[in-house]
C-alpha cells in the first residue's frame, strides 16, 4: 500500500513537471553572444564593447535541440528603450540564428538584447555597449 502511494506521488510529480516544462522543452539555448560578425554560422569576436567603426553588431543565438518548429524574439534595447524586435524562426533538430543592427554615432551607449521564446519568456539578456 505504501509502495503504491509513493508510486502515485512520483508519477504525479513527473507528470506535473513534464506538463510545466513542455513549452520550454521545445528548444534549448546553448549559446547566445554579441559579436562583430557571423561567418559560417559562428560568431566572430564575441564581446561586450563594439566600436561604431565596425558598422554593425550581431546577436547570435544557437539552439540545440529544437524539437519542433518554433520561433524566438530578439528584443534590442538602447538603455531601457525598446528599439526593435526581431522574430527568428527555429527549425528542428538544431538551429542557429542571429539579428543585427547597423550602428551610427548616435547609437553610442549601453544596450541590451533580450532573447525571448515563443511564449515571451525571457531566456537570456545580453548586455553590451556601443562606443567610439
Amino acid at each position: 500500500m505504501k509502495i503504491l502511494f509513493y508510486f502515485i506521488v512520483i508519477v504525479l510529480f513527473f507528470a506535473a513537471n513534464v506538463c510545466s516544462e513542455q513549452p520550454h522543452a521545445k528548444i534549448t539555448m546553448v549559446q547566445a553572444v554579441m559579436c562583430e560578425s557571423i561567418e559560417n554560422f559562428q560568431p566572430i569576436n564575441p564581446g561586450v564593447i563594439f566600436s561604431i567603426s565596425s558598422g554593425e553588431v550581431f546577436c547570435f543565438s544557437n539552439f540545440d535541440p529544437v524539437l519542433e518548429k518554433t520561433h524566438v524574439l530578439h528584443k534590442w534595447y538602447k538603455k531601457d528603450r525598446l528599439i526593435f524586435t526581431m522574430p527568428l524562426t527555429l527549425s528542428p533538430p538544431k538551429w542557429s540564428s542571429f539579428s543585427r543592427v547597423q550602428i551610427r554615432d548616435a547609437d553610442k551607449g549601453p544596450w541590451r538584447v533580450e532573447i525571448h521564446n515563443t511564449n515571451d519568456i525571457l531566456l537570456q539578456t545580453l548586455r553590451f555597449s556601443i562606443t567610439d
Binding site: 560578425s37 566572430i44 569576436n45 561586450v48 564593447i49 549601453p110 541590451r112 548586455r127 567610439d132
Partner: protein, 480 residues
C-alpha cells in the same frame, strides 16, 4: 464726502482693533512718561521727522544727512539719556498702574505745614533747601539722596535740616504730603547775575529751577531769610501770606473739582491725539500711494498622502503680483507670504491644482493682483522598491586590436526605491561612464551609479565593482 468714503472703504474690524490697540499703547506711553523730559524729546523727534519730510523734496543735502545721522543714533540717545525714566517705568511692580492705571491728580500738599516748618527753621536760623516738584521729573537732574518716604509733618521737616543731622546738607523733596527723599544734591546754577550774597544753597536752588518746573525754598543759615526760586525768578519772603500765595500759585490754586476737570480734559486730549496719530499712520499705510511688486513665492504642499510622493511639479515657485502702500510693500519679508496647496484630494499621476486667493496668505493691507502660473501640474506617485540589474556604461575607445570579452558588475543587482511610475519603465541601473581608452588588460573598475531620474534612491550607497576580461582580437575568422 466721497473722498472720505473712499478713505474708509474696505475698513475691516481688524483695522479698527489695530488702530485702537496702537492708540492705547501710545496713550499709555504718554501716561507713563508724562511729566518727564521724554515727552519733550519725542516731540523734538516729531519736529525732526517733519523737517526731514520737507528737507528731502527740497534737496537740502546737509539737513537730510544730519537728520539721518540723528535718527540713526536716536534709539541709543533715548536709552542713555532717559535710562532712569525708562527703568522706573519698567521696574514698576504694579501691573495695574503700568497697563491701565491713570493717576488722576496728585494728593494735596499741606502748604500750611510747609509754611510753618519753613518759618520755624528761619526763626532758628537753620539752613534748609526744600524742593517742591511739579510735573517734570527730577531723576535725570539731581543726584539721588536718601529715600525717606515719610509723612510730611512740621517736626519731620524741621528734623531733616536740624544741625548735625547727616541729611541736613542736601535738599529735601516733598511730593504731595510725603517727604520722599533728603540729602539730595542739586545742580548748581552757572548764572553770573545772581546776587553775591547767595550761597551754595541759593545757587543749587537756582540751578534746579533753571532746568525744571520745580519750586525750591531756601532758608539762609546766616540770615534766616526765606527765598523762593521758581524758573528764573527769586522771591524774598517777608510774610506767611506772601509765601502761601506763591506756593498756591505753584501748586495750582484750583479746587479739587476744577483740577479733576482739567486733568480729564488733558487725558481726553492725549487720548484723542493718540487716536488721530495712529489713524493718520494707518491711513498713510493703507491709503498711501499704491505700489506694485512681484514676489516669487515657493509653494508649500499640505496634507499629502503619506504613501505618495511628489515626483515633479511644473513649477516650484509662483510669481505673485501684489499691491499696497509703499511702506507695507517694502516691509514685506519672504516668510510673510505663503502659498499652501492642499494635496488631500490628489491622486497618483498628474494633478492639475489651481492656485486661488484662498491658497495665499498675505500680510494685512496687501492686495493680490495676479498669480503666475495659476495652475500647477503636480505628479504624485507611490514609493516602491525594485531590484534592478546593474549594467556598465562604457565610453571612449578600446585600444586597437583588443576585445572586451566579458564585463560583470558586483553586485549584479541593486535595490532601488522610487516612484512606481518611474520604476515601471526602468529595468536597468547604469553605472557612471567608464573610460576605455587606457584599458589594456583584464581588471576591475570601481564606479558609482547614475540614477535617472534623480528622485530614485538606493537602499544602500555603494560603489560597484566591474570585473572585465580583455583579450586580443582573433585575426582569423572561425569557420565550421
Amino acid at each position: 464726502m466721497e473722498s472720505l468714503l473712499y478713505f474708509f472703504s474696505g475698513f475691516r474690524w481688524q483695522d479698527i482693533l489695530d488702530i485702537l490697540l496702537n492708540s492705547y499703547i501710545l496713550f499709555r506711553l504718554y501716561i507713563l512718561f508724562r511729566g518727564t523730559n521724554v515727552i519733550r524729546v519725542l516731540f523734538a523727534f516729531c519736529v525732526l521727522w517733519a523737517v526731514s519730510q520737507i528737507a528731502a523734496p527740497l534737496g537740502l543735502i546737509i539737513t537730510n544727512w544730519a537728520r539721518q545721522g540723528v535718527i540713526t543714533i536716536a534709539a541709543l540717545i533715548i536709552i542713555i539719556v532717559f535710562r532712569n525714566e525708562i527703568s522706573s517705568v519698567l521696574q514698576t511692580k504694579d501691573l495695574k498702574s503700568f497697563l491701565w492705571g491713570i493717576p488722576r491728580f496728585q494728593s494735596h500738599t499741606p502748604l500750611s505745614i510747609i509754611i510753618e516748618s519753613v518759618h520755624e527753621l528761619a526763626d532758628k536760623k537753620i539752613g534748609a533747601l526744600i524742593v517742591l516738584p511739579l510735573k517734570q521729573g527730577l531723576d535725570s537732574v539731581v543726584q539721588k539722596g536718601i529715600s525717606i518716604k515719610g509723612k510730611l509733618s512740621q517736626e519731620m521737616l524741621v528734623s531733616v535740616f536740624w544741625p548735625d543731622n547727616p541729611l541736613h546738607d542736601g535738599a529735601a523733596i516733598i511730593q504731595g504730603d510725603w517727604i520722599t527723599s533728603a540729602g539730595v544734591i542739586l545742580p548748581l546754577s552757572k548764572r553770573t547775575d545772581l546776587p553775591s550774597l547767595f550761597g551754595t544753597r541759593h545757587r543749587a536752588a537756582s540751578g534746579l529751577t533753571e532746568l525744571t518746573d520745580a519750586m525750591v525754598i531756601v532758608i539762609s543759615e546766616e540770615s534766616g531769610k526765606i527765598s523762593l526760586f521758581k524758573k528764573n525768578k527769586t522771591y524774598n519772603i517777608k510774610s506767611r501770606s506772601a509765601m502761601e500765595t506763591l506756593l498756591k500759585k505753584h501748586a495750582g490754586d484750583d479746587s479739587v473739582k476744577k483740577r479733576f476737570r482739567r486733568q480729564t480734559i488733558e487725558l481726553a486730549t492725549a487720548g484723542l491725539i493718540s487716536l488721530l496719530c495712529v489713524t493718520g499712520v494707518w491711513l498713510s499705510f493703507s491709503k498711501g500711494i499704491e505700489t506694485l511688486a512681484t514676489h516669487e513665492v515657493p509653494v508649500e504642499f499640505i496634507n499629502p498622502n503619506q504613501k505618495m510622493k511628489i515626483i515633479s511639479s511644473s513649477a516650484s515657485s509662483v510669481k505673485l503680483l501684489i499691491s499696497g502702500a509703499r511702506p507695507l510693500i517694502n516691509s514685506i519679508k519672504p516668510k510673510q507670504i505663503n502659498i499652501k496647496l492642499n494635496l488631500a484630494q490628489a491622486v497618483i499621476g498628474v494633478n492639475k491644482l489651481s492656485i486661488t486667493k484662498e491658497n495665499i496668505l498675505l500680510p494685512p493691507g496687501i492686495q493680490l493682483k495676479d498669480i503666475n502660473p495659476s495652475v500647477l501640474d503636480i505628479t504624485l506617485d507611490t514609493l516602491i522598491e525594485k531590484q534592478l540589474p546593474i549594467q556598465p556604461n562604457w565610453s571612449g575607445k578600446l585600444p586597437k586590436g583588443l576585445v572586451m570579452k566579458e564585463a560583470e558588475a558586483f553586485p549584479k543587482t541593486i535595490r532601488v526605491t522610487g516612484g512606481g511610475m518611474d520604476l515601471k519603465n526602468i529595468s536597468t541601473i547604469f553605472t557612471e561612464p567608464i573610460l576605455l581608452d587606457k584599458l589594456t588588460e583584464s581588471g576591475t573598475a570601481t564606479i558609482g551609479l547614475l540614477l535617472n531620474p534623480t528622485s530614485l534612491r538606493l537602499k544602500e550607497s555603494t560603489k560597484i565593482q566591474i570585473r572585465y576580461t580583455i583579450s586580443k582580437k582573433s585575426t582569423h575568422k572561425n569557420k565550421s
